[in-house]
């Protein structure tokens, strides 16, 4: 399926992103004193909007169709972006979005529920690329059109087994595998280059024989163009340059918002900013 990179499509996905951002704020408020992973969810809203709104091949009526694409968030704490995307796609109702932390709820605790598009239960970082390699190998062997998409945070690139997986994906020439790196430059303890540097990331991935595409991870247009750029003989990484907490000025680039409580007052301020489109 070819990807529509038109301005109109990009604009449609930008509007979808705004709705998802508002959902994320509602979810953060609903989590009350538990707090939530707002920062790293807001950084990948556009990525998920473009995936679910344009790129991924899925059917909410046949969620287990073997030909479907597989999407796995390796940074599974991006629930405030992923669950709104599932609601946009129609896997869950809009009302259910706010129940993501409810005891006994079907969205609680990073569950695996393939019937609503949750392909994998993660949480521990750096593990899902290996699983993606297995899924991509299997899809190729079974001659399916399935493509595998893994969303990673940049912090989890510190994990060693991630590089084992990168090495093997290139070795097996998995052109049906795409890794999207939400390069928001922050992990829990601060700037990734201060905590444990990962630059030159594009150079590293190139040297691992991956097809590397870099783009602005908040531009739906640039993301569409990146997803349209498909290699024939190797895995692809899309390094999406993003801002942690994107869309809310007092959350942007603040490490403490990796996991944080959102007060009612902050919620109102944040919502006004998202509705007003005031972003850096």
């Amino acid at each position: 399926m070819s990807i529509n990179t038109s301005n109109e499509n990009a604009e449609r996905l930008a509007l979808m992103s705004r709705r998802m951002r508002l959902d994320a704020l509602d979810m953060a408020l609903a989590s009350g004193n538990n707090g939530s992973h707002l920062g790293g969810s807001l950084s990948c809203i556009e990525i998920l909007a473009v995936l679910y709104g344009e790129v991924l091949n899925y059917s909410i009526d046949q969620p287990l169709d073997p030909q479907r694409d597989r999407f796995i968030p390796s940074k599974n704490h991006c629930v405030l972006a992923h669950i709104p995307a599932l609601a946009e796609a129609g896997f869950i109702t809009h009302d259910e979005v706010l129940e993501f932390q409810k005891d006994g709820g079907r969205l609680t605790g990073y569950p695996k529920r393939q019937e609503i598009g949750l392909e994998y239960s993660g949480g521990s970082l750096g593990m899902a690329v290996s699983v993606g390699v297995g899924l991509a190998l299997s899809a190729r062997e079974k001659e399916r059109r399935t493509k595998v998409y893994i969303l990673m945070g940049d912090g989890e690139l510190n994990e060693g087994s991630v590089w084992e997986a990168f090495m093997s994906a290139a070795h097996y020439k998995l052109s049906n595998l795409t890794v999207i790196i939400d390069r928001n430059h922050l992990s829990y303890d601060g700037n990734t280059e201060d905590v444990m540097g990962i630059d030159d990331l594009a150079g590293k991935m190139q040297s691992f024989n991956w097809h590397v595409v870099s783009c602005n991870g908040h531009s739906t247009q640039e993301l569409l163009i990146a997803f349209a750029d498909e290699p024939a003989d190797r895995p692809r990484v899309i390094i999406a340059d993003t801002v942690k907490g994107k869309g809310v000025s007092f959350i942007e680039n603040r490490p403490e918002w990796h996991h944080h409580r959102l007060s009612e007052k902050e919620y109102e301020l944040a919502k006004a900013e998202v509705l007003g489109g005031q972003t850096s």
Binding site: S138, K142, M167
Partner: protein
């Protein structure tokens, strides 16, 4: 599988690992379409040439990357494959532990982990290559079946069992080439059901892995001295066979557990955990690696440091009976 006494002797010569990968796996892959075999750069040593020749499309070598191997196995299993993944028990059970917990234990992926050279057969390679804690790690993970083969024939039976289940299994293979034979003819292998190999007296030896053969020899030495005992092969560490244990506790005055493994968390611990819930059960003696490593050397040299040889097991039992 053609079970003849000549074949049983051949399998013993190949060792548990050679029999598992060289004999059982090629046959299983011919019968079952969805079988995959993964290794982390241990194909040659594991005797996989026959498998690779017959089923190249079912074989994957991930290089020396055990964690990635388990993740890839999980991905394949999520898409319907029955995946066997193997390397040294020390590396697969320890280096990959979190990947096993996440993908096999938590998500229930249909992956069979085969840890070879468990115990101290790689004695001269030193502690890095020994696996004397693997059963403890695997046993603590929910949803895993934990098996430990007494001889090459039993290793083959375990391969067949694992291929016909759709749940995760850890299979512990011990020893090198020329594995002592415990089973000289066909027997009924049921996961979760221990096997009584010898029944006499009021002392019961419960053993697993290579310690089964060693315990059988110890029982013969004891019989020569007029001390009778039973020997059980506990090939399934989890789930534990409570009903047979109930009988053993009722029929004996002394229980001796013998394993090539740390006495913390292994088979002896599994027996003790169950025994502790019951009233009026006999005393238990733990033979194994008391928490600690040993000096590297030949396998028997290491066993001698821990009291795991046939004569040492027999002497220990005589001593314990004297003080009972």
């Amino acid at each position: 599988m053609n079970i003849t006494s000549a074949n049983i002797r051949t399998w013993a010569r190949l060792g548990q690992r050679g029999a598992f990968f060289g004999i059982a796996m090629p046959e299983i892959a011919s019968e079952k379409n969805n079988v995959k075999l993964l290794t982390a750069d241990l194909a040659l040593l594991s005797g996989m040439d026959r498998f690779i020749k017959a089923h190249p499309e079912k074989f994957l070598n991930t290089g020396i990357a055990e964690q990635n191997m388990i993740g890839i196995a999980a991905g394949l299993a999520m898409d319907g494959d029955c995946v066997f993944a193997t390397t040294y028990a020390s590396f697969i059970a320890v280096r990959s532990l979190e990947h096993i917990r996440q993908h096999l234990s938590h998500l229930g992926c249909n992956v069979k982990i085969v840890g070879s050279a468990a115990g101290v057969v790689a004695a001269k390679s030193g502690v890095s290559h020994w696996a004397t804690e693997d059963m403890a790690f695997m046993r603590a993970l929910p949803n895993l079946t934990v098996l430990s083969a007494a001889d090459s024939f039993e290793a083959i039976k375990m391969a067949e069992y694992a291929a016909n289940t759709d749940t995760p299994v850890y299979i512990r293979l011990s020893g090198g080439l020329n594995c002592p034979v415990v089973y000289t003819e066909d027997y009924d292998f049921k996961a979760g059901r221990m096997v009584c190999l010898r029944k006499a007296g009021r002392t019961a030896i419960i053993a697993t892995g290579l310690m089964v053969a060693e315990s059988m020899k110890a029982a013969e030495l004891l019989a020569e001295k007029g001390v009778e005992c039973s020997v059980y092969n506990m090939h399934t560490i989890k789930p534990i066979d409570r009903s047979t244990l109930d009988d053993i506790f009722a029929e004996n005055d002394l229980i001796v557990t013998v394993e090539e493994h740390n006495t913390i968390g292994g088979m002896g611990s599994a027996v003790a955990e169950y025994k502790a819930t019951l009233a009026n059960t006999p005393r238990q003696v733990f033979i194994g690696f008391p928490d600690g490593f040993a000096e590297a050397g030949s396998q028997r040299y290491v066993w001698e440091q821990k009291g795991l040889t046939d004569t040492q097991i027999a002497d220990r039992i005589i001593n314990e009976l004297r003080h009972s």
